[in-house]
Structure formats: structure tokens, C-alpha cells
Amino acid sequence: MEQAQSLWQFMQQQSDKLLQQTLQHIGLTFISLVIALLIGLPLGIYITRHKPAAGPVLGFAGVMQTIPSIALLGFMIPLLGIGPLPAIAALFLYALLPIIRNTYTGIEGVDPLVKEAAVAMGMTRMQVLLKVELALAFPVIMAGIRTATVINVGVGTLAAYIAAGGLGEFIFGGIALNNTNMILAGAIPAALLAILLDFLLSLVQKMGRRRRLSTLWAMPVLFLLLSSFYVLPFGYSTRLLAGFTPEFMGRSDGDIGLRTVYGLKIRTVVISDAVMYKAAYEKKLDVISGYSTDGRLKTYDLVVLEDDKKIFPPYYAAPVVRKEVLERYSELGPVLNKLAGRIDDSVMTELNYKVEHLNQSPEKCARDFLVQQGLYREPAPVKEGVVRIGSKIFPEQYILTNMYAMLIRGYTGLQVETKTGLGGTKICFEALQHDRIDMYPEYTGTALLAILQPPAVDTKAG
């Protein structure tokens, strides 16, 4: 009950953003849907007329559908940059298959005798297509449009990773910030949107032919109207464009701090850290929220600004370990502490650079560093007991995870399982809390702000 209450409060507080994100989401969904219809319908019709083309066309659309959405967005960036364009292109590719396939199977499913009768009565090819084939295939085609719409609403949440907005901003922001209300404020409207649109389209699908004839013209008009939601103006004064990660957007040592303490009011888009640095390098963005230790700062020759008003607490990498595990294996604590004080920002940047830019494996990089520091030991004889190490998905975490694993194996003989692929702070922390992992590398600032969650006023002190 308290949860529901505070979610409601959150949504009210953020109603401006929520409205904007919802409209953007609807806009993205429908722009790509309209384009997919403009191309998919004629293509679906074309391949019923030219059967040899059906295999390759359906095959291509099918392959597009199997590419994981994040990967597809990734492929789009070199071609189309960041922002709405690559997002729309990716959503369009996803929507294509259900529309082409259902147009094709719908028309193929029309009784050939009925088509022949239509021709025999003197209908032109166009009349046969419109009055017989499309009319009879209509429910099947509508089913395809419904599928495409639901897919677009779902995949559309990922648009937030490449600065295209939408409800994903809340969802991924919430995941990064360990803020359940924020996640729900994005996820619930997205789910409702999918259900609502699917329901409305199902009404159109079930419409009788006569009702359809009188109302169907409204569908393209409505789709275009909904598409236009994306471009509704949201005014900003400066021309500077910032790209911040979802996490940075919602943190008091992030966008909130920049606005309140520094009074910085620039146009901001939300973007994934995976593409942020490159986008800055390619001049798509002017300001980004980089990690001070990220190797790409060096790769792309980016300048780090000084936080002279001290909104950022210190960010030191430190292992977060379950207490129970530390107690069970008393030798573990001292081993993990061997790294203390050895990795400052410049060292970490250098290590990251080796992995990200010179394509060294995190394992080799970790080992070289331990050897150089005189800490490396070959694995000790195996002993009873396993330590499960988690990590977020970026190179620095992989390097640190490898170092911890090597130290534990070398000094204690405990076995190590690594789970490198936990999406963000929230996921790592939840995994830790629920006994899925025993430890993971975290940063002091993050631990302080996102996990311990002090009241906002206190942060200035930190």
C-alpha cells in the first residue's frame, strides 16, 4: 500500500516528464509503424504476385527480427548516429516482418475460386486486390499490425539508450538508480500502452466490412496524428546538447546536482554509456556523463571537467561482499584488501584503455597488473568453498572481477564463479541481497547514493 502510494506520488511529481515520455513513446511507435506499413503492405502484396521473391523477402524480414534489439540499435549508430533516427529505423525493421508476412499469408489464404470469380465478372486487377484480396485478408493483416504495434511499444523502451526518449528513460533510469518507483512509472504506462493499443486495434480487426468501409479512412489519419506526438516541441534555450546515462539523469550527484548546484540548464538526452563516448567524439553530443576512469576518455581525447563545487562524492572501486561470506571464509577479507590503495584513477584509466582500445582481454590485463604489482600467484591447491563474483556490463568491472578472482584463487584456494553480465547497480545489488552472488565491485559514490539512499539534502555534504 505504501509502495502504491509513493509510486503515485512519484508519477505526480514527475507528471511533466511522464507525459513527455509517453507522448514520445507513442510517437516513436507510430512513426515506425506507419513507415513499416507504407513499405510492408506493398511488399507483401508484391511477393504474392512474384512468388520467387517471397522467400528472400520474408527471410530478410525474419532475420531482422532475430537480431537482439540492443544489437540492432548498436548497428544503427554508425549508420544513423544517435537520437530518433536510428531508433525509428530499428523499430521499423522489427515491425516489418509481421506486416509483410501477414499481408502475404492473408492474401495467399483467399480462396482461388473467389479470386477467379472476381476476374470472371470483369474486375480489374486493382479491383480484385482491393475488393476481394485485401478485404478478405483484412483480419489477418490487422493481426500483423497488432503484433507490430505491441513489439514497437516493447522495443521502443530501448530507444532511451540512444537518446531517442520514450518511457525507457524511466525504466532504465530506475534500474540504474535502484529506484523501483521510477522503473514502475515507466514500465506500467508502457505495458498499459501496449494493452490499450492492442485492444483498440482488435476492435478494428473485428469490424464488419461495412463498418470498416465507413471508418477505415480514420486509421491512417489517426496513425499520422499519433506519430506527430514525437515532435511536439519541448523548449530549451541553449544549443548545447548533453547526453547522460539514465543513471546519471536521476542522481543528485548527476543531472539533478548539475541543475541545482551549478544551475546548468542544457538540453539533455538520455543515452546508454555504451554509445555515449563515441557519440561525443563524433560531435553528436557536446557534454556527456563519462566515468573518470573510462579508457575511452583517452581513446576519444575527451576533456574531464573539474567538480569544483563538489557534488560528486569520491568514486573509489571497492568490493561489496556479503557479511556472511566474509565470516565464513575469514581469509577472504585480507586477500581482497591487497588491492587497496593500488589503483588510482590514472591507473584504472590506463587499464581500461588497454582493454577497450588495444583489445586486450580483461583477463590478461588483470594478470599483467597483478604480476607487475608483485601480487600474482598461481592458483593454490583447491579447497572446499565457492565465492560467486558478479559484475556490471563494462570493461572496468570485468578487469576488477578478474583481479579478485585471481587473488582469491591464488591466496585462498577457494573456487570462484564469475557472473559477469548483471545490467546495472540495481541488478547487482538485488543479486547480492538475494544470495545469488557473494560480492561485486562497486564504487563508493554509487554505494552511498544509490544503495544507501540518503535524503537528497544530505548529498551536498558528501
Binding site: A117, M121, G122, V132, L136
Partner: protein, 267 residues
């Protein structure tokens, strides 16, 4: 008047219709009779250009049909399919109105025509707003007939129009069909494999085999003056009923011939 000249249709190596020629006079009913697979449907579909021939010409009222827009040609030729080919998404009224609407008739005229056809084919008026699936096979076939007749085309092509019906329904649909006044003036080509039906409905019969016409003529010509053994054998099973059906008691010539025939057979 329909004139078919030396028409041939091949599918790859296979010749489905082989140098066929015949004419159908205005108002005449011509039956294409033959076993399944002998090329009747292929031949019929070439008359309204549902199938384009490999060679040969067809004229309707002296005009070569290949000089005309196929759509324009087809709107003036009614076509009845064995399995109706009604539009499942159209009501009965809309199905009947298809060609008149293509021709741009005004609503009132279409309405009037539809209602009158329903009456003539003994279909209750409330069926107008039904969909084809809601009707029985016999009723659907009547609608198919009404649809072919709607725009009052001078030519009617019928492909086994009673073939899919059970015997009792067939008899009743056929009876109403034969009583239709407006068919009297139409030039009709009807395809069937049913000998009885050919004799009942045809003014003249073309007996086909392997894509060719074996013999063409009035029913009694085929029966009493067969040109080949194939023709004689074709009717042998049902000869008695057929002869009884064609003999006009006042046609002494035929009567004597039939008598001779029976006498010879008795020997």
C-alpha cells in the same frame, strides 16, 4: 453469336484443347460434353479470356475477343461456376450486384433487378442480407446464377453448374433454371459430363475427347447418326432413356430410324 476457330491450348508439352472449332448461334444452348479431363473447362475459360489460348481465334458477334479489354468483355459474359465462387464477405444482395455496380448502374435499378432475380429463382427476399455461408448448396447455386444474370449479359458460360448438388436439389434447381424466361434469348455454352443433362439442356452438343471435338450436332444426331464408335459407345449405357427423351412423336423420320435401331439391337 460465338465463333470459335481452330483454338488450341497447351500446358507445356500437354495439349488440353486441340484445334477446336464450333459456332453457337444467338439464343442457342450449346453443351460441351465429355469425360473429366477432356478439356471442357479450359475451352470454356478461353471464351471469356480467363485462359489465353496458345493459338486460334474467337469471335463474339463478329468481333475478335482478343482485340478487346478482357474486363470489358467479361462484364458482358455471365459465368457460373460449379462451386459458386460467391464472395464470402459480401451479402447475397451485394454478390448479385457485383457486375451492375462495376457497370455503374444506379442504386435503384440495381435494387430492383436484384429483388426481381431473387423472385425468379425462388429465393426468399430476406436472404438478401444474408451471407453465402448461411445458405444451402442449392440456394447458393441459385445466387450464383442470379449473379451471372444480373447485368443481363447476352452470353452465359456455365461450368457444370449443377454438378455439386445432390440429385433432388439438382432436379429442382434445374427445373427453375429451365423455366427462366430470360434464358430463352441468351447464347449459352454449358459444360457437363452428365449425358442426361446434356440432352435435357442442349440444343446442340459437342462431344469432346482428349481436347478434340469428336462429334457436334443435335442430340438425336449424336444418338442415331454417330460418326465414330466412340460416340456410339459413349451413350450406350443410357441409350434407352436418351432415345425416349429425344423422340418427338411427330418426327416420323427419327421415329423410323429409332425403330430400326431397336430392331437391329434385338437381333
Amino acid at each position: 453469336m460465338i465463333k470459335v476457330e481452330n483454338i488450341t491450348k497447351t500446358f507445356g508439352e500437354f495439349t488440353a484443347v486441340d484445334h477446336v472449332s464450333f459456332t453457337v448461334q444467338e439464343g442457342e444452348n450449346l453443351v460441351l460434353l465429355g469425360r473429366s479431363g477432356c478439356g471442357k473447362t479450359t475451352l470454356l475459360k478461353m471464351i471469356n479470356r480467363l485462359i489465353e489460348p496458345s493459338s486460334g481465334e474467337i469471335y463474339i458477334d463478329g468481333d475478335n475477343i482478343y482485340n478487346r479489354q478482357p474486363e470489358e468483355l467479361r462484364k458482358k459474359i455471365g459465368y457460373v461456376f460449379q462451386n459458386t465462387g460467391l464472395f464470402p464477405h459480401y451479402t447475397i444482395a451485394e454478390n448479385i450486384a457485383i457486375v451492375p455496380r462495376l457497370l455503374g448502374w444506379d442504386k435503384q435499378k440495381i435494387r430492383w433487378r436484384t429483388v426481381s432475380l431473387m423472385e425468379k429463382l425462388h429465393l426468399p427476399g430476406e436472404y438478401l442480407s444474408y451471407y453465402p455461408q448461411q445458405l444451402s448448396g442449392g440456394q447458393q447455386q441459385r445466387v450464383g446464377l442470379a449473379r451471372a444474370l444480373a447485368a443481363d449479359p447476352p452470353v452465359l458460360l456455365m461450368d457444370e453448374p449443377f454438378g455439386a448438388l445432390d440429385p433432388i436439389t439438382r432436379a429442382s434447381v434445374k427445373k427453375d433454371f429451365r423455366q427462366l424466361d430470360e434464358l430463352k434469348s441468351k447464347t449459352i455454352v454449358l459444360v457437363t459430363h452428365d449425358v442426361q443433362e446434356a440432352f435435357e439442356l442442349g440444343h446442340r452438343i459437342c462431344l469432346m475427347d482428349k481436347g478434340m471435338i469428336v462429334q457436334a450436332g443435335r442430340p438425336e444426331d449424336l444418338l442415331f447418326r454417330p460418326t465414330e464408335d466412340y460416340v456410339r459407345d459413349f451413350f450406350e449405357d443410357q441409350r434407352f432413356q436418351l432415345e425416349a427423351s429425344v423422340i418427338d412423336p411427330k418426327d416420323y423420320d427419327t421415329l423410323i430410324r429409332a425403330f430400326d435401331h431397336f430392331k437391329n439391337k434385338g437381333k
